[in-house]
Symmetry: C2
Subunit: 669 residues, 2 copies
């Protein structure tokens, strides 16, 4: 690393338990970020705080469209739920978890024992005020780690570029390189006057982080070392061929098919009924993003021949296992057991796919399910309740029920439900969903679905936020008397949704049983341990600024500039640079906008600081290239590339466009 | 040109009237092609003869899937309507046409006078047997040219690669570079034993062309000169800003919107009702192709700031005109007249867009309109009939009515009509279509449309080919008594469709009145004449083999190879290389597959031979790059690139994959 340009000893980057420079890297719950000043300023992506900007925006003060700069701290805007998590420490709790699993536990019991043990550890850990804790599973259950974070819940918006820059290129450029997107935001974390985390209050003061990263003025060039620090969410580097095959041949194609239809449905509806556009926008963005992801996965897995290569590896592994009686006994079935388990799941997977997206995608069903399930779960002692339905979740669930009002539109809901019901109607006999079969009397013709859906929404009150919130936390027997058709539907679907939840638990239990021995076998065979799959825990990836060739006859270089931004400008969204920015951009055509490296990232790395060998921020991670989507299944030297905002364009924007003198001086620029 | 590598004197390429090497370039009616042997062998694109291959294919002999090679001439397959047009000569007929326009003619009279004069010239010209003639308009009516072609109507298929190669990359790679598509086919033209064009007959013999192009074994490299010879269809290089603005802001967005919905409709229907896939396939391909074209047009026009640049030119032109009284009088209104005309068209353009695509896209309406219009037109003397409805068109129209049976599917038709009717219902008051308003009693709700459409198709017999053909050419009064609902609908829409046809004629008339003076003014201003817009007449473009940069941080080189084909292979359509081909391809990874040049091409150049400086075929044109779609509005040195099959991969396929010894020896390889 020193040869490649790392000028800081590794021990100064991070060392247990005292920490190090990386203490300045923070989590944002699904995103990453970094302290960039001694006064709690945090750099992250525009898309990570998008919702907060939206909630601050009104037609009079449209910060989403025009951007926002706080020239003084008093001008900062409320964060509307944005939270900053400062990593405190981690503890190996493997023994404490595994010791709780009863002998001869079936997969459900196994799952529940692990869950129970985890919940107990989290509860104990969260006795400390403002401490948020989680138990993370490494290598699918070979190791369990308790992670402790300090939760800073008064977070405010300090600098936001206009959406036209923060989302420049939109869905067209999403997952692509070259990029010209200024996907950055500056937010600030506050604490009480006593220095302790506190709810939003006038009297709060900026949080003083232990460490922060300086912003580089020089940037990096092709060939330079970079480090990406953050909390990548989930990779699948150690799946067996059977698992990858199912993903490639069933899961992603199914998702691409359904989400493809779904995006068109929302787009068409938005054109025909413009009042559905705004409520549907956020969902549409997620669908588009996931759709492109699914397509990239399929293409990448096929082109990379991932299944074939895994099969070859497994053949070699099994040969090695077969050479020794002890290995044969311990590991003889590690591959075939997983394959058998994958096969055993096939029968219900189309139904479960639909159940998953019915409760995710149809707000009415989601409301009904949340309210009825909460009512049922609240009867249990807290430690027996499911994750997500405990007392610690109450405020969050209520807030979600409230906020969902902004993305609810009855017509969007009806059309979405109708589209999914058409698929429910086509499920084979053994996968029927009785609750729907009864409600529709088995008639899934377009006319019957249309009538059913219309009747459902004509009478429901769950679309009205106060009425919906009034039903949150009411006693189960009282809710059972509700005549609201969506509550009644959720109740009649209850047994099937409970069974779905149980199948999910069994699957998790099975994986925690089947995958650790497989990982152990691979590890022994290879004679080394290897980094665990991403699991939302802090990681660092060392990479190099470099271009790539996405295929024959194409080469892409690792830097874009303001000249390229100007050239991409079309005057209409998503390629519409505001006139004032265009004017400034023309003055400094060579200034870097985005850059590319071969660092290993995935979802969750959004907002990750990218450091040079001196530990200065030279970039801000926000995406990967299309050819690297399937990189979740394996790092590829030729194609694994992450996309970053160049730190220099952030300074340029603050200076030349926004005239944000005080922020610049706070950043030391 | 000699410096750039042209080793043949221009006079040997072409000279009026004796001709030259380019005599070997032929037309295929919408496509181009080239004689490549002394025995009538013609090289063109796979996609130009796709339909003929499809019509020869059966489940037992599936040439579409597996490809086809005639090892002897007797094995060649029938061309099912493929025709080869050998260019004979051209004559300036400007005076003969313009002399027929009455003074003070309005635009309709003007159009009809031109049409009438053209028809008379064509009729006279076609007195010679097997002569097909057309009058082409240059520079929108500054000049008219009579083109004479020899029509060879016994054409047979000699060599066709499997669809997986001929269409490799499908819609994903369509309009893109890099490409790995072997979009070629070899066909052979036959004549009667007397050497005269004849209908298909056993006794026919191969046509002996005056000239043919040899196939190069060496190919070309980056920087080499190439010549693309063919019949480009239509460009818009001299439109005014008002016209381009309408295209950019109304026409292409409208097309993209409607075709976007339409493609999804056909794709969804194909998934839900698989028997609709095959009949809908060809339409879907056209829609996809046109959709991508529309998107590319919008992007290219916006990024290229074409409207803004035209406005600047017009400002300079008007300044020059204003400097002189004579110019002011003659040309003072050339720009504003066109703008006023474009403005005058705005009111009905959405309605006319729908009328156009209703009769194009809904087979039932198309049948009804053709039958009823033919019945009306046949009452007129032949020279008074509309183009396309004369005696010379009878066989073609009947054949089209028959062949359309293969792409007709009642359900596809119903859904398409319903989708378009929803848009008809949304037309503003002054654009209402009375025929539909009456038929639907003004109720365009989804339920009412559904009911209307179902009733229409429940009773019609036009979907049955023999019954449809039986109605072709029957007397108008007899047809008027038909109770077929599609005939009745076509009749009740008749006045509106006639009015639409008349508006189209008036528009053509207006353009022939307004655009020549504009072109003249520009020409005088610039002090030079310039090449006329493409109009399906023979052209040559001299270019250079070269890569390009589609945008910042991206560079594309001008050659792909078999290694790239193998790398793109995914095992599923449209990236599925047959196993035997894959095996051969792995043996010669460096062999070129496709190449790129900066030649100036457009639609109609499909199948154009691409020659090196010695006049040998080094490539076969088949596409343009996405960034060059808007090149129709102006050649762009940096982005105008055409895509070709490298001649070397054609030889390789014939030799290594197909073992086509006799064809190779005929080609001199």
């Amino acid at each position: 690393l020193a040869e490649r340009g790392l000028e800081i000893p590794l021990s100064e980057l991070w060392q247990e338990p005292q920490g190090g420079l990386f203490r300045a890297a923070v989590g944002l719950g699904g995103c990453s970020g970094a302290f960039v000043s001694a006064a709690g300023l945090v750099l992250t992506n525009h898309h990570c705080v998008f919702q907060a900007v939206q909630r601050n925006s009104t037609p009079q003060n449209d910060y989403l469209t025009h951007g926002f700069i706080a020239h003084k701290q008093e001008e900062e805007l409320p964060g509307h739920g944005v939270k900053v998590y400062v990593f405190v420490k981690q503890t190996d709790v493997t023994e404490k978890i595994l010791g709780q699993i009863p002998k001869d536990a079936d997969d459900l019991v196994r799952y529940e024992a692990i869950e129970m043990a985890q919940k107990a550890l989290v509860k104990e850990c969260e006795q400390v005020p403002s401490r948020r804790c989680q138990v993370s599973r490494y290598n699918d259950g070979l190791m369990f780690v308790l992670l402790e974070n300090l939760e800073l819940r008064d977070v405010r918006l300090a600098a936001i570029p206009p959406r036209a820059l923060g989302e420049f290129g939109g869905e067209v450029d999403n997952w692509r390189w070259p990029r010209h997107t200024m996907d950055f935001a500056l937010i600030r974390a506050y604490v009480g006057p006593d220095g302790q985390p506190a709810a939003h209050a006038e009297s709060n003061v900026p949080f003083q982080p232990e460490r922060f990263f300086p912003l580089s003025k020089q940037g990096v060039e092709e060939g330079d070392l970079v480090m990406v620090v953050g909390t990548p969410g989930r990779t699948a580097r150690y799946r067996t061929s059977a698992e990858v095959r199912q993903d490639e041949q069933w899961f992603y194609p199914k998702r691409a098919e359904v989400f493809g239809e779904w995006t068109v449905l929302l787009e068409t509806l938005c054109r025909q009924e413009p009042e559905t556009c705004l409520p549907g926008a956020s969902r549409l963005k997620t669908l588009h993003n996931t759709l492109t992801n699914a397509r990239g996965m399929m293409e990448g897995l096929r082109r990379g021949r991932v299944v074939g290569k895994r099969m070859e590896q497994e053949k070699a592994l099994l040969e090695w296992i077969g050479q020794d009686a002890g290995r044969r006994e311990r590991f003889g079935n590690v591959v075939s057991d997983i394959e058998a388990f994958v096969d055993s799941q096939k029968d219900g997977r189309d139904r479960d796919f639909l159940l998953r997206y019915l409760t995710w995608g149809v707000h009415g069903l989601s409301f009904g399910r949340t309210l009825t399930k909460w009512a049922a779960q609240q009867n249990l002692p807290d430690e027996k309740r499911e994750v997500g339905f405990q007392e610690r979740d109450k405020d969050r669930v209520r807030a979600e029920l409230e906020e969902a009002g902004k993305s609810y539109h009855a017509l969007v809901d009806q059309r979405t439900l109708a589209m999914l019901l058409q698929r429910v109607g086509a499920l084979p006999g053994q996968e029927r969903i009785a609750g729907f079969d009864q409600a529709l009397k088995g008639d899934y013709s377009p006319v019957a679905i249309d009538r059913f859906v219309k009747r459902l929404y004509a009478k429901t009150q769950l679309g009205e936020t106060p009425k919906r919130l009034a039903l949150f936390g009411v006693a189960q027997d009282k809710l059972a008397q509700s005549r609201d058709p969506l509550i009644r539907l959720a109740m009649s679907l209850g047994p099937e949704l409970d069974a779905y939840d149980e199948r999910f638990k069994r699957e998790q239990g099975a994986q925690s049983r089947l995958r650790p021995p497989y990982i152990q076998a691979v590890s022994l065979w290879r004679g080394k341990t290897f980094y665990p799959d991403a699991n939302s825990t802090p990681r660092v990836s060392f990479g190099t600024v470099t271009g790539y060739s996405p295929g024959e006859a194409e080469h892409r270089t690792p830097h874009t500039t303001l000249a390229g931004l100007v050239a991409k400008h079309q005057g209409i969204s998503p390629f519409d640079v505001p006139a004032a920015v265009l004017e400034e951009a023309r003055k400094q055509p060579g200034l870097p906008v985005c850059l590319l490296s071969n660092s290993d990232t995935t979802g969750g790395n959004s907002g990750s600081p990218v450091l040079d060998g001196k530990g200065r921020i030279v970039g801000l991670n926000f995406d990967r290239v299309y050819e690297n989507i399937a990189g979740d299944y394996g790092y590829n030297e030729a194609l694994s590339r992450n996309v970053m905002v160049d730190a220099r364009v952030i300074s340029w924007y603050l200076e030349a466009v926004a005239g944000a003198k005080s922020l610049l001086s706070e950043l030391g620029i």
